[in-house]
């Protein structure tokens, strides 16, 4: 929603490892209801930027402010407001799919955690795997589980690192609709992706990460990563 106050304010953020930046400095603001896409070549630094924004990696320089205040990634406030899915599989060891989701729902104080869990299991097609341990699932099912946990809980901002990876096309389409619907309800999202169709379906703006960081329209960014001229 252009014009609304910034939910996330990233200023001159330099990301990298051992003092070496992997891409140009990032400066961007995101308001509630906005979906920002991030694209770039392999190794350009997309995931590094997202991890740095999330606080899971130290920034070389620059700042990240959330609701006008410096982001404190280990605070309960940040964790209550931000839902993130990265490439690394993360679930509570020894818990089944249903138990993991129930723990997330109850931990966030949902009024009817069982009903919410059932809805997400149905949406992400995990009913048959509800009693299974995550490590026994396929990689695509594990990705569905992480996405279900991300959408199950309330959040103001969602950070998604290539969420379409390992999903079948039908699920990718449904995921896109879900992100758009959540944005319509006021949630902001930052989505790293390699899928041009997915990008144009969900994102309203797009950053292209490289030695320089540019902001393009999703259509132009999609054309750039596919090597085709923009329509």
């Amino acid at each position: 929603m252009p014009g609304s106050p910034a939910l996330l304010d990233v200023t001159a953020l330099s990301c990298g490892f051992m003092g070496h930046a992997v891409c140009g400095e990032v400066t961007v603001t995101i308001a509630s209801g906005e979906v920002l896409g991030i694209v770039g070549w392999n190794g350009a630094g997309k995931s590094t930027v997202l991890r740095t924004v999330a606080g899971r990696q130290d920034a070389l320089s620059g700042s990240v402010r959330f609701r006008g205040e410096p982001r404190q990634e280990e605070s309960a406030r940040w964790r209550r407001a931000v839902s993130a899915v990265f490439d690394d599989d993360a679930w509570f060891p020894g818990l089944t799919v249903r138990e993991h989701l129930h723990l997330v729902a109850a931990g966030h104080g949902l009024a009817a955690p069982d009903r919410s869990v059932d809805q997400e299991l149905a949406f992400f097609g995990l009913e048959a795997a509800a009693k299974a341990f995550p490590e026994t699932l396929s990689s695509g099912q594990r990705r569905r589980l992480l996405l279900a946990a991300a959408f199950l809980r309330p959040a103001d901002l969602m950070l998604l690192d290539e969420p379409e990876q390992r999903l079948d096309p039908a699920m990718v389409a449904r995921l896109g609709e879900r992100i758009v619907a959540a944005a319509d309800e006021g949630m902001a999202a930052v989505v790293v992706t390699h899928d041009p169709q997915f990008l144009t379906r969900v994102a309203g703006r797009c950053l292209v990460i490289d030695d320089d960081v540019d902001e393009l329209t999703p259509a132009r960014a999609a054309a750039l990563i596919t090597g085709r001229p923009a329509e």
Partner: protein, 535 residues
């Protein structure tokens, strides 16, 4: 003679080539360079083995000296639980039997060739059109023979060392015969158990639990006098002139040989159904187990011996009833995760059982022995109690899915291990408190438990050892610089927490140790909270 058709000639050539191909020769060609080791390395390994044997004999001798009937037993335990000098002369032999049992069974589990393919893992990994059964049978026989020889050596060492120190070889003879039989029986059991678990596609906790159960049962038998009755019968000495002595020795030797034969038959039958997938899997499993053993990670060794969790499970009632917010969610997740780690509960209960038996066993009432037992068993139990944290620490950002700060999450993760260890210390030190009439021990117990639980949790949250960094050559092989320090940090801190308890056990009076215990526990809890998570 007509010339053969071109096609027939090619077919004959192909058959000739196939019949001349010896897959085992090819395997030997592939594996020989890999298995060949320079003479210097073999000598170095021999030196280590001799050194190891000397240490084991010295430890056994010290144990015998400490626990022998000639040593003055504890003077601070109540008379009712003290069995005076000469009460159970077979106890030293029992202690060495337990030691031998653990050593031999561990060795058997580590080196079982047919299943874990210690020397020939590459052979199992190759998909060759060969019959592996001859190779398997030969390996099984070699294993059982080695086990028989090893346990016989241990038995002889027990006999001579016991006779020299205790001066009573008569009662040791029967125990030594049993020790000699443990080798082939243990190795055969290891082959059977591992072969069965391989056939089912997973490993089993049976072997690990059997070790601990055996130790508990032996000690329980010693405590109640049953073992003393069974093993303390004054059999004639070897070389005596009585006919009974000769008969007993002959019968014992026959029993050992029979054990080896029966064990061999059972082991050979069990490996008959193993195919290439199970053998290849066994090779991988063996590598993991060796790596865990080489890194001195007792928890990893135990986990590698235990069964994988079942694939499906009903939802736990604990989560539905107990979770009302992020803090309770982390506590419940840790508790449920620990409960479901295969073998964790049995290991923890085994250490608790041994801790309870320790003060009631004759000859172990000496304060130093009691203290060593409490420390070793307590640290082992704490390591087990923190095993869920060890697993969850592999995903350092996991707790970020819940609206809980990192600091609160660290406190929540301390709850379960500290509670388990508070119970453990309260039970074991509580018994000691009753026996000694020292109420301060009971008061210190929960604090000591919380402290040890906190240090174990901090150890579980340490960053993983960097095996890709700088290495230093040790007797254990190449080890990353700082690895030993990192591995033992939690245990060193755990020992510090138990120093106040030690002072009470060694005779310090008053309530000052309680105050010191509170301070030590508080310091360790704070240390556990500031240890950074893995990243």
């Amino acid at each position: 003679m007509s010339r053969p058709e071109a096609g027939q000639a090619r077919s004959a050539d192909a058959r000739a080539t196939t019949s001349e191909f010896d897959p085992w020769r090819r395997v030997r060609q592939i594996t020989r360079p890999r298995l060949a080791r320079p003479l210097g390395e073999r000598l170095f390994e021999g030196y280590i083995m001799v050194f190891y044997l000397i240490v084991v004999v010295a430890m056994g001798g010290s144990l015998l000296h400490f626990t022998s009937a000639q040593t003055q037993p504890s003077t601070f335990l109540l008379d009712s639980v003290i069995v005076g000098p000469g009460g159970i002369p077979a106890l030293p032999a029992i202690c060495l039997m337990v030691l031998a049992l653990v050593l031999i069974a561990s060795w058997g589990l580590l080196t079982v060739g047919p299943v874990s393919a210690s020397r020939a893992d590459l052979v199992w990994g190759l998909q060759l059109p060969v019959d592996r059964q001859p190779f398997l049978r030969g390996t099984v026989r070699r294993i059982l023979l080695k086990a028989l020889l090893a346990s016989s050596v241990v038995a002889v060492v027990v006999l001579f060392a016991g006779s020299a120190i205790v001066g009573d070889s008569a009662t040791l003879l029967s125990a030594c015969v049993l020790v000699a039989a443990i080798g082939p029986a243990g190795a055969a059991a290891a082959v059977v158990v591992q072969a069965r678990s391989r056939a089912e596609g997973d490993t089993t906790a049976v072997a690990g639990i059997a070790l601990w159960s055996g130790a508990v049962l032996l000690l329980a038998g010693a405590g109640t006098g049953l073992t003393a009755m069974a093993l303390g019968v004054p059999f004639p000495v070897v070389g005596g002139d009585s006919l009974a002595a000769v008969a007993i020795v002959a019968a014992s030797a026959l029993a050992v040989v029979a054990t080896a034969c029966v064990g061999s038959a059972l082991a050979l039958r069990s490996v008959r159904g193993l195919g290439w997938p199970q053998l290849a899997s066994g090779g991988g499993h063996h590598l993991v187990l060796r790596a865990a053993a080489s890194s001195l990670d007792a928890q990893a060794v135990y986990r590698s011996l235990t069964r994988a969790p079942s694939r499906r499970r009903r939802a736990s009632a604990l989560l539905r009833s107990a979770v009302s917010g992020p803090w309770t969610a982390v506590v419940a997740a840790e508790a449920l995760s620990w409960w479901r780690i295969p073998g964790a509960l049995s290991l923890w209960l085994s250490t608790l059982g041994l801790g309870l038996l320790l003060p009631t066993v004759s000859g172990w009432g000496a304060p130093v022995v009691l203290l060593a037992g409490v420390v070793v068993l307590g640290l082992l139990a704490a390591d087990c109690a923190a095993s869920a944290t060890r697993a969850s620490a592999l995903s350092p950002d996991l707790e970020a899915v819940l609206p809980i700060s990192a600091g609160s999450a660290r406190i929540a993760r301390l709850v379960h291990p500290c509670a388990l260890m508070a119970v453990w210390m309260t039970v074991t030190l509580g018994v000691l408190s009753l026996l000694t009439g020292l109420p301060v021990l009971l008061a210190m117990a929960p604090l000591a438990g919380i402290g040890v639980g906190a240090t174990a949790t901090a150890g579980a949250r340490q960053p993983p050892i960097n095996w890709a960094g700088s290495m230093v050559l040790t007797e254990l092989g190449p080890v990353p610089v700082g690895a030993i320090n990192q591995m033992t940090a939690a245990h060193r801190s755990g020992v510090i927490v138990l120093v106040p308890v030690a002072t009470v056990l060694l005779g310090a009076g008053g309530w000052v140790p309680l105050a010191v215990q509170a301070v030590a526990t508080g310091a360790m809890v704070i240390w556990a909270l500031v240890v950074q998570k893995r990243r």
